[in-house]
């Protein structure tokens, strides 16, 4: 039955998340940005509430929530601050790989570490081209530098997906610092997220470091990527909702030419369009979450699409927020400029929107059967 009503459980989670987002994350967003890391107290709080293990298997002590529930929670947390969300400790993108293969021995130390303290921080490299993976007798040798990834600066673990020199997909897992972190020069946004590049200088990964290879790696990765696309889209929705709400409040109070600027259609119509974008992106993200929950990997095109749509909307909404604030939108005493920077950094980090659309289009064109509307 078509319904937009969250479950009781989801509502309870979101209520807690909203409190933290508004009372803790939002007020410390600038501070975390300047210190280029997330405050330990926020990380601790979220860990205690289980928010760092939403995607992790129950058998590990994670919450193993459906994607639709996670989407809502991340949306609310990102309403607080996306920079902080993207810099939180824990498994990050790798969680979806853990969830799919919880019994794999490569994860054992990770699982163990999580039983006594905060989940270790994992940086995930989805880099087919930037890192050379040479197959050797009893493992692989890695060389090269990744594109920027988040939490590179704080990573305890690194998970790298790539293709080896014979073109076979492989996912390797490092649980100790065999890599080097290149700090780089980041100024745009998500500055609390520990952006950086991971460099491997002839690093050997034995077969015991391999999570999967071949078809299996490809399937694991494809599904993990789809899950990640949905969650990143949901986070972007949270950010745009923050920008929308702030803009409404600001323009309701600010006066010019003798009245609240909200009364000018040049403002109010733009705000309405921002709301259109938010709702549209949210629904597309939610629908993708439900589909991935139901259909698994078969739904990945919908996940890509959700992210492409969110990319477009979050750029539009945060840009208009700055625009509606005028000069105040451009200065750091107001949050809008940071949101616009964070949005653009997020869009860059999670690939190109046109590219996601074309990939989805290739799927559509290659589908042989007639498409049935949902």
């Amino acid at each position: 039955m078509i319904s937009f009503r969250p479950t009781e459980e989801e509502r309870a989670f979101c209520e807690v998340a909203k409190t933290i987002a508004v009372e803790e994350m939002r007020p410390s967003a600038r501070d975390c940005e300047q210190r280029r890391s997330v405050s330990a107290s926020i990380a601790k709080r979220l860990h205690e509430l289980g928010f760092l293990g939403l995607e992790l298997p129950e058998s590990w002590g994670g919450l193993e929530l459906p994607l639709i529930s996670q989407a809502q929670i991340w949306q609310v947390l990102s309403y607080g601050d996306l920079g902080i969300v993207q810099g939180l400790p824990g498994p990050g993108e790798a969680a979806s790989l853990m969830r799919q293969a919880p019994e794999h021995p490569v994860w054992r130390p990770y699982r163990d570490a999580g039983q006594t303290g905060i989940w270790p921080t994992v940086a995930f490299i989805d880099g087919e081209e930037t890192i050379e993976v040479r197959r050797s007798r009893d493992g692989y040798r890695l060389n090269g530098t990744s594109a920027p990834v988040r939490r590179a600066a704080f990573a305890d673990w690194v998970v790298a997906a790539g293709k080896d020199n014979e073109g076979e997909p492989v996912i390797v897992v490092f649980d100790e610092r065999t890599w080097e972190t290149i700090e780089g020069d980041f100024r745009l946004g998500l500055l609390a997220a520990g952006l950086g590049r991971i460099r491997f200088s002839d690093v050997f990964a034995g077969n015991d470091r391999v999570l999967a290879r071949g078809e299996e790696a490809s399937a694991l990765l494809g599904h993990a990527r789809a899950r990640q696309c949905v969650l990143e889209a949901a986070k972007e929705v949270g950010l745009m909702e923050a920008a929308l709400d702030y803009t409404i409040e600001y323009t309701a109070g600010r006066k010019a030419f003798g009245q609240e600027i909200a009364k000018f259609q040049g403002v109010s119509f733009t705000v309405a369009e921002m709301a259109f974008e938010c709702r549209g992106a949210r629904n597309i993200a939610w629908a993708a979450a439900c589909r991935v929950d139901e259909q698994g990997r078969a739904a990945e095109g919908f996940a890509w699409r959700a992210l492409a749509r969110a990319h477009r909307s979050v750029r539009y909404v945060t840009d208009q927020a700055v625009q509606m604030l005028g000069g105040h939108g451009y200065v750091q005493e107001y949050p809008a400029e940071k949101w616009m920077r964070d949005a653009q950094a997020q869009v860059l980090l999670y690939a190109r929107e046109t590219d996601w659309f074309i990939r989805r289009g290739e799927q559509l064109l290659d589908e042989r059967k007639e498409r049935v509307a949902p």
Binding site: I2, R5, E370, P374
Partner: protein, 404 residues
């Protein structure tokens, strides 16, 4: 639980309506556009099949749908069923869909504001013996988006009212058995002076002067109505005197008109979604068949089609959200405005993208160019883009006490 899966009833109706749209409506679409009307014999046949555009499947949502009715079911789903059905019908052909017998947009106001006697009198005429229509007349030459500015007057006289004025852009206005007409008893009273009347065909002084030629929706009749000293008996005042004579904050005729929008806008949005989907599916087939499998044109097509697919689905979800809110009994004015605004704009854009993909041959006898001409009005009627933005903004700013 958040879900986008259809209930068994929704699914059943969707399939039924789709079957009808595919086999009875679509094959007639281009011909009806050329003729500028839907053939009478087709309307007769369809009416005998019991297919109508009535309030139960199309609008108010206060009554459960005729098929699969389960009166004791907990959750109402009439509005969701209605938008699902409307999408399928418009997928077949929007002009024919709007021409189907039934009370049409006149249904919701009678359903929501009529007295029991009026509901019986006006809604029971839609039977299988003969196709009949209802209509809805709000717009005037000098009052388009500004519904509060209507000038048609209703002068109270013994036993009823005398109407004078003109109405334009009235769907099925000439063939309708009755028309819900909005008029003012006193322009100085503003919205409080508005009244809604049900004027029956053949009433002296009530004339459908002419039908208008349009960019699209050519198979669907759009009439101009004139009221010249047209006497309407008191029992045709919608809701009766008591609806208007109560306290000042009781629903005025204006509110009757506006309330209608909250249920009709999602329907209009759903139709726009159906049109866009028709264009998209038609084009997807052609591209799959005729386009090269690589190179510039292939990637162009992939991008445009994926965008179209996403935009269609996004608009559909917004429409479902508005319908869902109505079903659970929550205020949905903002959601209704949002889905109408988004779907209307999206559908034109998708049709234009599809035309681009078809290229010059798309000019010659292809469904998509007709859909392009049809769809533009979905950005205009039932409130323009601009009005939907205004309605949305009003709701967004309400918590701050700012009336935009």
């Amino acid at each position: 639980m958040i879900s986008f899966a259809l209930s068994p009833q929704q699914k059943q109706i969707k399939e039924l309506v789709h079957w009808f749209a595919q086999h009875e409506v679509r094959p007639l679409a281009l011909e009806a556009d050329r003729l500028g009307r839907v053939p009478e014999e087709w309307l007769q046949k369809v009416n005998k099949m019991g297919i109508q555009l009535n309030t139960s499947s199309f609008g108010g949502g206060r009554s459960a749908p005729a098929a699969g009715q389960k009166p004791d079911k907990k959750e109402r789903e009439g509005n969701r069923v209605a938008v699902i059905a409307a999408e399928e019908l418009a997928w077949g052909c929007p002009a024919i869909a709007l021409s189907l017998p039934g009370p049409g947009l006149g249904g919701p106001p009678i359903q929501s504001s009529g007295t029991p006697e009026q509901k019986q009198r006006f809604l029971s005429i839609f039977t299988k013996d003969e196709p009949r229509w209802g209509a809805y007349a709000l717009t005037e030459p000098e009052a388009g988006s500004d519904a509060s500015g209507i000038r048609t007057t209703a002068r109270k006289v013994d036993g009823g009212y005398v109407l004078n004025g003109q109405k334009i852009f009235i769907t099925n206005g000439a063939r309708a058995s009755w028309v819900v007409v909005f008029a003012t008893v006193d322009p100085k009273l503003g919205r409080a002076g508005h009244r809604a009347f049900v004027v029956e065909k053949g009433t002296p002084g009530f004339l459908a002067t002419r039908t208008v030629h349009k960019m699209g929706l050519r198979a669907n009749e759009t009439a101009e109505l004139v009221f010249e000293d047209c006497f309407v008996p008191a029992e045709n005042l919608l809701g009766g005197e008591e609806l208007y004579s109560a306290a000042a904050h009781q629903p005025s005729g204006f509110q009757v008109a506006m309330k209608t929008f909250d249920s009709t806008r999602p329907i209009v949005a759903a139709m726009a979604v159906g049109i866009a989907r028709a264009a998209y599916e038609y084009t997807l087939e052609i591209v799959r068949r005729d386009y090269p499998k690589q190179g510039r044109l292939y990637y162009e097509a992939a991008e445009l089609l994926a965008e179209a697919e996403q935009e269609i689905d996004a608009a559909r979800l917004l429409t479902w959200e508005a319908a869902w809110k109505a079903d659970i009994g929550e205020a949905n004015a903002m959601e209704a405005a949002i889905c109408k605004a988004v779907a209307g704009k999206m559908a034109l854009r998708v049709c234009a993208m599809c035309l681009e993909l078809l290229g010059p041959v798309g000019l010659d006898g292809h469904l998509v160019e007709k859909l392009y001409r049809d769809v533009k009005v979905f950005d205009i009627f039932e409130g323009t883009q601009q009005i939907q933005r205004l309605v949305t903004a009003r709701r967004l700013y309400a918590p701050y006490g700012v009336h935009v």
